[in-house]
């Protein structure tokens, strides 16, 4: 009998527990991960570079690809960075609509990720259910923006089109339906003994790790730090709506799921307030001239927003031309998806790698951009 040596394994890009076209090279000793190395490049489309070759409007069709599940956050961060540099006013109604859109996206994202835990754990009812309910949100996206996944709706100066009262009614109904369904997710997933066994005390992130790596969002809030950009540095009209930021003080996979679950309720709460309080008026200001000739003043800006995965930011420089001079994207899941993989995975069990990626909300293009 020979000795069992350390094995090198590919986790992804084809793996039910992998998120997107991304791969982790893992060395294991038995079941235990000894070394993990992120292996990007399969997705690399040079988003940031491509942005320098497209004009301010054209980029709207590109940037949202930086996160497929929550594309709208890109549209918002990009547009707000343009607006900051240009010193553009955004109509009040558009700001409320943006909050509504961003919270819808958060619900869609959390649903997918909540159900998605079924992937690495074998509970396939979860993703099936989640996709159906997420589709309800996508239906509303389709009604508002004309597209289900890539909306290209939030643009510099506002949003592309107004929402009608009829659509808002439909949205209210969808929120009621989802709210009614949530206890079933709780029963199916959160109360499930096997899920609990597979997620409690698994993929643990300590507060020190989170803070030193720069992890934000739910992964950080699960360590007891209540950092949420919407509260700490409110943008749009987040200071005009009431909502709570749920936290727990132990960041394991289970608690992160549990926070996502609770955040869905908060998002529903926010959207309901938006529908109630949103003023009427125009929804878009435009730069002078036609979109081929839009120029943004010379300057730079960093805009940060709270995405479903944490602080999401665009640092953008304009040289006064028709295209961005440079754009840097702070992908929200970058720290936990890159540093987290390399420093956090060693010592965990092989089957927990997928749990880490899943509950940390790693979104591959945010790293591989």
């Amino acid at each position: 009998m020979g000795e069992i040596k350390a094995l090198q394994l590919f986790h992804g890009p084809n793996h039910p527990g992998m998120h997107g076209n991304f791969s982790v090279h893992i060395k294991v000793d038995g079941d235990i991960v000894v070394e993990a190395e992120a292996n990007p490049g399969m997705l690399h489309r040079g988003f940031e570079k491509l942005m320098e070759r497209r004009n301010w409007m054209q980029n709207i069709a590109l940037i949202l690809r930086v996160c497929v599940v929550e594309p709208d956050i890109n549209e918002a961060a990009y547009s707000m960075a343009v607006e900051t540099i240009e010193g553009m006013d955004v109509p009040e109604r558009a700001q409320w609509i943006r909050v509504m859109i961003l919270e819808m996206a958060r619900i869609a994202n959390h649903l997918m990720s909540l159900g998605g835990i079924g992937g690495p754990t074998g509970l396939y009812t979860g993703p099936n259910w989640a996709l159906v309910d997420r589709d309800l949100i996508l239906d509303i996206f389709e009604k508002i923006t004309g597209a289900r996944v890539y909306h290209m709706y939030i643009v510099p100066g506002g949003v592309r089109q107004d929402v009608t009262d009829e659509i808002l009614k439909d949205l209210e109904k969808v929120l009621d339906d989802i709210e009614k369904r949530l206890p079933e997710y709780r029963e199916l997933i959160l109360e499930h003994p096997i899920i609990q066994k597979r997620t409690k005390n698994i993929a643990v992130l300590t507060r020190d790790q989170a803070l030193s790596w720069g992890v934000t969002g739910i992964a950080l809030r699960a360590t007891g730090v209540d950092y949420d950009v919407r509260k700490y540095d409110p943008y749009l009209v987040y200071d005009k709506v009431e909502f709570d930021v749920p936290t727990v003080d132990f960041s394991d996979a289970y608690n992160r799921l549990w926070l996502k679950y609770q955040e869905i309720y908060q998002s529903i709460r926010i959207i309901r307030q938006v529908i109630e309080k949103m003023p009427s008026g125009k929804v878009r200001e435009k730069l002078p001239g036609n979109a081929l000739k839009w120029r943004v003043k010379k300057g730079d800006a960093y805009v940060k927003l709270e995405s479903a995965r944490g602080e999401f930011g665009y640092y953008m420089v304009s040289d006064g031309g028709t295209k961005p001079y440079r754009v840097f994207v702070r992908g929200a899941s970058y720290p936990q998806g890159l540093l987290g993989i390399e420093k956090g995975l060693p010592g965990t069990r092989l089957e927990d790698v997928a749990i880490w990626l899943d509950t940390m909300g790693v979104c591959a293009p945010e790293i591989d951009r």
């Binding site: 004309g146 001239g289 081929l292």
Partner: protein, 609 residues
Amino acid sequence: MDKPKANLFSSIKSLKYLFKKPVTIEIPKVYREAADRYRGFHTNDWDKCIGCGTCSEICPTNAIRMEKVPGYEAGNGQTDERPVIDYGRCCWCGFCVDICTTGSLKMSKDYIFISPDANDFIYIPDEEGINKNYPEEGYRRNDETDLLELERVIMGHLSAEERGDSFIEYVRGYSKEEAIREASRCVECGICTYTCPAHMNIPEYIRTIWEDDLEKGVEYLYKTNPLPGVCGRVCTHKCESVCSLGHRGEPIAIRWLKRYIVDNTPDDEYEKVVLAEVSKPGKGKVAIIGAGPAGLSAAYYLRTLGYEVDVFEQMPLAGGVMRYGIPRYRLPDEALDRDISFIEKIGVRIHTNYKVDKEKFKELKEKYDAVFLSTGFFTGRKLPPHILPGSDHTDVIAAMDFLPKVRDFVRGMGEMPEVGEKVVIIGGGNVGFDVGRSVVRLQRMKYGKVDVTITALESEDILPADREELEEGREEGLKVVFSRGPKEIVIEDGKIKGLLTVKCLRVFDDEGKFNPQFDEEDKLFLEADQIFMAVGQAPDYNYIPDDIMEKLEIVRGKIKADEYGRTNFEWLFVGGDIKEGPDIIHGIANGHNAAKAIDEYLRKKYGIE
């Protein structure tokens, strides 16, 4: 919220879904209708689409290319290309729909298309749609999504009070900020270039404004037009009538933008650009008769090509219609002087007060290698007494006998021409308005009040004069009566009492020919003590020797020539009104073309490569 506890049985409840209707649907048994704003497959109305290519410019994925459509004839103001969409690239953003200049390109609610052949996904949208089912419209552009700027930057004018009693230029011209803003509306499609008689590089020079590089702009202007200061003010701007932006909004103010370049480039920089392209004089001498737009344009280009050029002008000042026809409030002398000064600076010799007659014509023919005629339509026409009784009265004046006097008066080179207290003008074209608005000013100076009426055969909707002439004329106090034909000039005791008019029922017949019909019973008498006629101008060919004249073909007053102004004599070329009919920019284009033809002729003659 309570933290969930483990419960082995909780998830068993989900078994109830086994007995519920599935949420998935089976296509094509069940079809799911897309939302109203759905961004699905495109459609394009080919009759509306002008092939401007703007959709392809904005497309962020390069999914659209413009392709010539076989067998498709492009009309004026469009190209024969139509957009082709590659659905392997399209990301359904809808920006092409948002920016489409005509609104022809739309998106449908159609979202399923199946074909085993990948090439089928490269599709030229038409009204039928990719599935040939005339799909329902989905996503629609509206004011908020529109990616064009439809409204023109307003041009500042002196108010009617400020301008009504003087001949001061009343269009202020754009400021830098305004010009850049107006220029930023242009989509650079070049549709206008085809229509401009001189095929000016319009999108290119508009872009130089947007980039604030006016020197480059001047360079573009002079490629096809050596009188940009004039054209920037009074061109008939046919380009604007086809401008892509005009389909859904207001056309780009092409003319005013041109003026902006000319007026805002400092003389020294201007001179540098204009002089840069001029060749040293070599072999070949050309005589040009008439220093109007065509003559000056031909002179400029011939000189840049290296020929010696002499221009002969019978009037004391060069410029022709620009100097003696168009009123000063539209075209001040300074603007014309500036344009002409650069033409002279490159070495063109202009001899004014030089009337060419038959004898001199022969001399010129001997002394020069080629002769270019551009003597214009400078004789005022009047309706003869057998058509309009009373028209031979001395107080009935032809427009072209009056306008030069006004210009001379304004520039201090003549007396104020006679104007009556009550004036009627026959003719609703731009010249009629030039006379009318000039009389308004003179009356204000002389009598302190205004009484001028223009009578037009045409109804308001088909008035030949520019819309702005009508509007601004009215602001200044001009009255206009439409659909009226002159019947008789009523004279009592040798004095004009007024003009009797009858109702004009139609101007053109069914074939579109000028063939007015009147209702003789419907009469209107307009009191007047002076009457002007602006019913067209005529050429005067008395200076052309008979043996030459015999061999020239005259068609409706114009000398027959080819596109390049070549006549039956290889050394004789014509351009301007006498070839094309009255229009400055046509004249300039003629001059440029003739210069090319003369160049060709002289190269052959001297064996220059």
